[in-house]
Homo-oligomer: 337 residues x 2
């Protein structure tokens, strides 16, 4: 049925040159004479030649394929990140193998093996919560270059692209402090990741700097439903927080919903600030104050880090931290007098 697609051999036969010459044309080598190149290119166009990258990789070990592993495809933070990665990779004529670890280290391991089998040139990994800190070392033994993104395991053994959450949380706390809040709670998540550690670090640093008081840390499931349920926990805090900083926008949105269900108006009765500034932040009620982290830019940078590492394996390890921007809307309310 499907006529097999032409190979270098076919092109060579029709063009009356050798396979090797056609190969040189395909790879845009300067070695071929101008007129042969044009002639061969015409034949390739005529026969609708498509280079078999798998076969090429077998010989020269470059598949122009990179694997990307994210823990989640629902949170638009990760999908925007992915957009950035995909865009840069496409511009570099590379293709993205996507997989979702669902935040399970075991699944992540399976995926890595599969990627290895597919001969990816490198991996961009947002490590699942609970990932073994030895993973980067293991991948190095495999000879599989990796860039970590958004989260990190091991002690800076790989390139890394992420958001500066320490600074981001600082911005948010400064904002709340400026508005007059003294007792600030943190709505966190249960799963431990470097992303959580950074936020907690930012929280205590920020409190120290602004002189505000840690009004308690409440943990929720990483879904808006979980956060809505956690609203009661927040309201029950002995310390009676006047403001809540949330792990991310999804939790913040859920919390606001929970607060309204408990008859508190976010932004009036209690201030809420999110992190990430997802598109959804403008659609909540009231519109959410949040700290923008530009996940797409982080994804693009992660992609760039990986491709430069592939080009230059020996270069020193590099880190990229996206600077945060505070977006003030209504959920943080107005100045307390």
């Amino acid at each position: 049925m499907s006529t097999k697609r032409p190979t270098l051999e076919d092109i060579a036969r029709v063009a009356g040159v050798s396979r090797a010459t056609v190969s040189l044309v395909v790879r845009q080598s300067p070695l071929v004479a101008e007129h042969t190149r044009m002639m061969v290119e015409r034949v390739m166009a005529d026969l609708d030649y498509v280079r078999d990258i798998g076969a090429a990789r077998l010989r020269n070990n470059s598949s122009r394929t990179v694997g990307v592993i994210v823990p989640n495809l629902v949170n638009s933070f990760f999908t925007e990140f992915l957009t950035g990665v995909e865009q840069v990779m496409r511009a570099q004529d590379r293709v993205v193998l996507l997989a979702n670890s669902e935040d399970e280290p075991q699944r992540q391991d399976e995926i890595l093996q599969r990627f290895r089998g597919h001969g990816v040139d490198g991996v961009i990994l947002c490590p699942a919560a609970g990932t073994d800190a030895a993973l980067p070392a293991r991948m190095q033994r495999w000879g599989l270059p990796m860039v970590q993104a958004l989260r990190e395991v091991g002690t800076q053994q790989t390139d890394y692209a992420g958001a500066d959450y320490v600074a981001g949380v600082g911005l948010a706390l400064q904002h709340l402090s400026d508005l007059g809040h003294r007792r600030i709670a943190f709505l966190s998540v249960r799963a431990m990741t470097s992303a959580k550690a950074e936020r907690l670090e930012g929280f205590s640093l920020g409190l120290a700097r602004t002189g505000a008081i840690d009004a308690g840390i409440v943990e929720a499931d990483l879904t808006w439903e979980g956060a809505a349920l956690a609203a009661d926990g927040v309201l029950a805090l002995r310390s009676r927080p006047t403001a809540v900083l949330c792990f991310n926008d999804v939790l913040a949105a859920g919390l606001m919903l929970g607060l309204r269900r408990a008859d508190r108006q976010p932004g009036r009765d209690i201030a809420v600030v999110g992190l990430d500034d997802l598109p959804l932040a403008e659609l909540t009620y009231p519109p959410m104050s949040s700290v923008a982290m530009c996940p797409a830019a982080i994804g693009a940078e992660a992609a760039r880090l990986l491709t430069t590492r592939l080009a230059e394996p020996g270069r020193p390890i590099e880190r990229f931290l996206q600077a945060p921007t505070l977006m003030v809307r209504e959920s943080s309310g107005t100045k307390i007098v």
Copy 2:
């Protein structure tokens, strides 16, 4: 640096058998004797053997790789769809090549060529707006199996998995009609796709069935900002609609925001109903009535259609339409008396 990974040859040497035997073990052939199989498997485990799927594909023409092209990675409808695809593919030991056409047919063509070069077994395509209707025929000439999803070009030439938007719009109109609305507007998008055509068809069918009146069709950009801006257009309609049905939840959310900016309270002054029932529908204010389409289930079904077609190329074309479910929340308001 990176010790090259072991090949069949290496395993064979250590295990004291031939390359061919090891290959049979890898492929779980019943031809090998139990004790050799166990012995070889131990050696493979010891040496950390990973099968090179690219090399395998070169010989047997099955890469266990499928390409997925979506027009967008921001709208969570597509990312949930993607989740469904990825899950089923992973369960079948396949890997997903992801690309984003950004709804541009030209980019989509480039991506298809790239996928072809990578030797994908098949493609799940959500065709970009403006895709040539001849694309399915062209891909058939290439011998590249494809399943269309969520949108469709050509006249039912390929398997298809999508949502039953005709019925979905019908449910929404019935709901609005039950609430007493007679003048209903439709907030649509500019880009023409089969998805839009279906909704429009459902709109006129539904109006006919319920006896409600087409209060006008307003077109917006497919972003919540676009929809917010379109709120004025909706309010300016001569027909003074009492309800607006929206192309999807993103538009509905944006519209509600725009309406509130114009001092109309969705669900009280004017009813709003979305389509898709994204997670965001519960987070808007007021919570949005919408028609659930289960994109993840559609993605899973698309994946299944593709893998069964790969297994059985000759089978008749199949279509899957996900049945919609109405989710009543507050944006559609209560009965008009």
